[in-house]
């Protein structure tokens, strides 16, 4: 069973760091020493007691911007991941249960979407869609749901031929029951293990879009956008742009550590590799 002692060191590290980021994101207005968009000093001040991480390209407190940026980054990435999971797994399960032409149409459609690199297709679509956060979440979520669909369908096809599903069908349960009461609980552990990886992908994808100037628009800022704002300073030896970039990396690595541990645990439950 899951006891605190059984959690390996790397997973502890991941859990604590991820927890810190989420805490900062949720309580941003309370934790941040300065408001998000207030100019409090000179341009690109070095680190000091008043401004722990220095100031940014307009003289705003970088630490406060980072904390508010955590909020935007994590919120958008989480919503996009939630959308891609709901959409991908429901469509994947349905395709596996119904089969036939529905399965064929959906699967070939997903093949087609995956034949274009995600970033390129996102750029194509964003060139005509209005630039706001809702569009961003929809585009990220729908494009990413193709990956979830493939996994969910593969898992559900296996479960669909199990005796208990057969039994449920024979007693006359509807498709909704089969999908949500029979397949979903049994497909949950591989999906949860995938969740962390998809979330990291969403964070990196959002950051890349914002870095290219096509994601979150100023004065709102996520970490990718902050790298863009401060990148001109790099050639003058001012490392302000490296801080949000490093934050993205640290968040991604710590979520990865947790996801790795969950993946190992779920393979354990199936009688797989014997590690904690």
């Amino acid at each position: 069973m899951l006891t605190l002692k059984n959690i390996p060191l790397s997973a502890w590290l991941g859990l604590i760091v991820t927890g810190l980021f989420v805490f900062a994101a949720v309580f941003a207005p309370l934790v941040a020493p300065f408001p998000n968009a207030e100019i409090v000093g000179d341009v690109w001040e070095p680190m000091s007691a008043a401004h722990w991480l220095g100031t940014d390209n307009l003289g705003r407190d970088l630490l406060s911007r980072m904390i508010f940026g955590a909020r935007t980054t994590i919120l958008i990435a989480a919503l996009a991941t939630a959308l891609s999971f709901t959409l991908g797994s429901i469509l994947g399960f349905t395709a596996a249960v119904i089969g036939g032409w529905f399965d064929q149409t959906m699967s070939r459609g997903v093949d087609l979407l995956m034949a274009i690199p995600t970033l390129i297709f996102a750029l194509v679509v964003l060139s005509v869609l209005p630039g706001n956060i809702v569009t961003l979440i929809l585009v990220m979520g729908i494009l990413d749901s193709t990956r979830v669909y493939r996994l969910a369908r593969a898992v559900a096809v296996d479960i669909n031929v199990m005796d208990y599903v057969e039994a449920a069908k024979l007693r006359g349960e509807g498709r909704g029951w089969i999908i949500f009461r029979e397949i979903l609980p049994n497909a949950l552990s591989p999906l949860v293990a995938e969740l962390g990886l998809r979330f990291i992908f969403a964070v990196l994808f959002l950051s890349a879009l914002s870095f290219l100037g096509l994601g979150v628009q100023p004065p709102e800022a996520d970490w990718g956008g902050m790298v863009k704002e401060n990148k001109e300073g790099i050639v003058f030896g001012i490392p302000a742009a490296l801080i949000p970039a490093a934050a993205i990396a640290v968040l991604a690595i710590s979520v990865n550590l947790v996801a790795d541990w969950i993946l190992n645990r779920t393979t354990d439950l199936k009688g797989g590799r014997g590690n904690g």
Partner: protein
Amino acid sequence: MASLLKLVAQRIALGLLLLLAVSVLIFVGTQILPGDVAQSILGQSATPQALANLREQLGLNDPAYVRYFHWLWGMLHGDMGTALSNGQDIATSLSGRLKNTLFLAFWAAIVSVPLAIILGLIAVRHKNGFVDKLISGLTLASISLPEFFIGYLLIYFVAVQMQWFPSVSTVYDSMSFLERMKAIALPAATLTLVVLAHMMRMTRAAILNVMQSAYIETAELKGLTPFEIIRRHAFPNAIAPIVNVVMLNLAYLVVGVVVVEVIFVYPGMGQYLVDHVAKRDVPVVQACGLIFAAVYIGLNIIADITAIVSNPRLRHPK
């Protein structure tokens, strides 16, 4: 032999069909909104008469499928239309940039592919040892690092602090080969670092998979030297998975190049695409998107064909 040719031809035909479907998707993707190109060129204050004239001129009154075939016909003949934002011919602006992008991706591939395979072999040689663990750790880190983190770290330390290479990779036609290489050193290094760890890890898995087969054990037991085992038994079976790994990562490189070009202000296709997405210049975005997708699909076809050619089992589908 005839069946092999047939399989290869089938694969290529399938790829072309996919590309056609992708072109429809890209075209439809830019028509989602009923928003009007004429309106976005002329702005909100345009008179209705001017709008109607421009619509007529751009052929916007035709139904969507007519415009699609017109666009596709043009693309196939190298006529990509003109950019909305500055009225320049897209094909002319693109050709130089495409060359630059391929130049950068080519050198990144030349460095990263052999390096990844050699490091992968070293990891197999020291399986579960310190080197192997180090490589796993680096892989975990490298899939989590955004491209711009690696890029700006290199700029900050190598270009600004040590001043070994320029921080901005400007290239122009009159540059000598050496100057050009110096300019792309940092972007190529960034791209290499982005794909290296992943490629290495997959190479390691592919070789391990082969080395653990029963026929390798048999070869060992009948007394072949390690070199002979690798030459006669392991290598021929490992080609297909390794080529697959390499192609997958080259395809990834095609996408990574977009961000890396923006970091280093490199005059390639990625930067051109990003600039024009921001300007909502649809014809340029369509053209660039189609070219990127074509390169991506092309690399995947090459991977499949290599797998068919190098693996006799795939030549006789059941």
